[in-house]
Amino acid sequence: MENEIFQLQYALDTFYFLICGALVMWMAAGFTMLEAGLVRSKNTTEILTKNVALYAIACIMYMLCGYAIMYPELGSSLLAGITADGVTGADEPATYAPSADFFFQVVFVATAMSIVSGAVAERMKLWAFLAFAVVMTGFIYPMEGNWTWGGESVFGLYTLGDLGFSDFAGSGIVHLAGASAALAGVLLVGARKGKYGADGSIKAIPGANLPMATLGTFILWMGWFGFNGGSVLATASVESANAVAVVFMNTNAAAAGGLIAALITARAIFGKADLTMALNGALAGLVAITAGPDTPTPLLATLFGAAGGVLVVFSILTLDKLKIDDPVGAISVHGVVGLFGLLIVPVTNADVSFSGQIIGALTIFGWVFGTSLIVFGIIKAVMGIRVTEEEEYAGIDLSECGMEAYPEFVSN
């Protein structure tokens, strides 16, 4: 009887894990639509290509070496032994299949990489970006993942878990990490032509398709239930089922709070309801709650999300003033608010310390930003990372992919 109940638990937890992983995979579609909506139509095919290719690269690199670097005790390279069950011969019997764990982890790598593509959109070379994706998903992300979720020490110096660091579903490990790489890329590739005037003025470059950006945001919102909800890692007990339900509820609440707060903030500052800011606000709310969706009350989750929504609007305006050109606001949404998300965890979770969160954030940022700067720098020296001015004017759909997204329209 006990064995039968365990079998049922194993089946249910594995099934839940896989469904959540599939939801997170769908976030790749959300990022793709969001980015395709916020770039100009002449750069649509290229951003779509980057997104589908980076997803596939993340899956292959994480299988080849990423998972083994991140969780040395769980997987060896090429995932030898992953097809065994999680109970027989395991040191700590898990309630889900090891391959389900890999599947759930691999879609997170792709999420981190997706953050980069939007920030460097409309001017970075396709193949330079994909070369970076190989290193990011195969090495840079797995290393910091090893220090955090992997529980290993940072180069033998200190262990984040012992310092009171906690990041439930990855405000820092996934979102801040992705944004750190994005910042390195943006600094090296430079602003889009025409974004900043010679006199220091900031010019708007409106996105081509706001229905697409809105659909992308809703897809991300939905996928986030898998992202945060799946990070409970189990659902087949009263305790874990309650935790899953709380996480779903708070994740949704934070997104709603973020959207409304950003919409009102944008209306107050600009005099008009800027949809793109509202969309960024929903995502900011989601990023803000991701580090600790299990402990706040629903009201507090809404307020945390709302704070993220206000923060993201000011962050986007500040980055623009600093001439850091981020077409989709990825650095603000995932980086600035990701950091904020880490810092608010101790408010509702007594096991987590502010100092631990700060050291964790600095570790993630320092590692990912530093290594990304080096890797992008090497790629820049070897093959160049930016398209020519003429190609940028004509649109990189033609120079990089040889096809337009909307060939029946004739306009720039």
């Binding site: 900031i202 010019k203 708007a204 600009f270 800027d274 800011m277 623009d320 606001g329």
Partner: protein, 112 residues
């Protein structure tokens, strides 16, 4: 015969078309155009940054009428397209030397 060319605000097109039908105008030609007059362009905000819209969308309506119909045609257009605000547009009148209906070969006022 006269050719009346009116530039009006796009949202007034239906009103103008109805007003012209009421006075018995048989056909008009409509073109979506862009331009500026005293209204000039305007600036919009996108994610906090300004962008300038230099040319505003307008609708150009062309009507060929007999000289006898001219005054009431102009009056119908002006009445229907007037909002009292800047950017209402203009009406240009020019003489029309010849009109030919392609199907029948009729010419002059018969062809209007």
């Amino acid at each position: 015969m006269k050719l009346v060319t009116a530039i009006v605000k796009p949202f007034k097109l239906d009103d103008v078309r109805e007003a012209l039908s009421e006075i018995g105008v048989q056909g008009i030609t409509v073109t979506e155009v862009k331009g500026f007059g005293r209204q000039k362009g305007h600036t919009e905000l996108y994610r906090g940054a300004e962008y300038v819209v230099d040319f505003l969308p307008k609708v150009k309506i062309e009507v060929a009428v007999s000289t006898a119909m001219l005054d009431q045609t102009i009056e119908a257009i002006i009445k229907a397209a007037n909002t009292g605000k800047i950017g209402d547009g203009k009406v240009f009148v020019s003489s029309l030397e010849q009109v030919i209906r392609i199907r029948t070969g009729e010419t002059g006022e018969e062809a209007i």
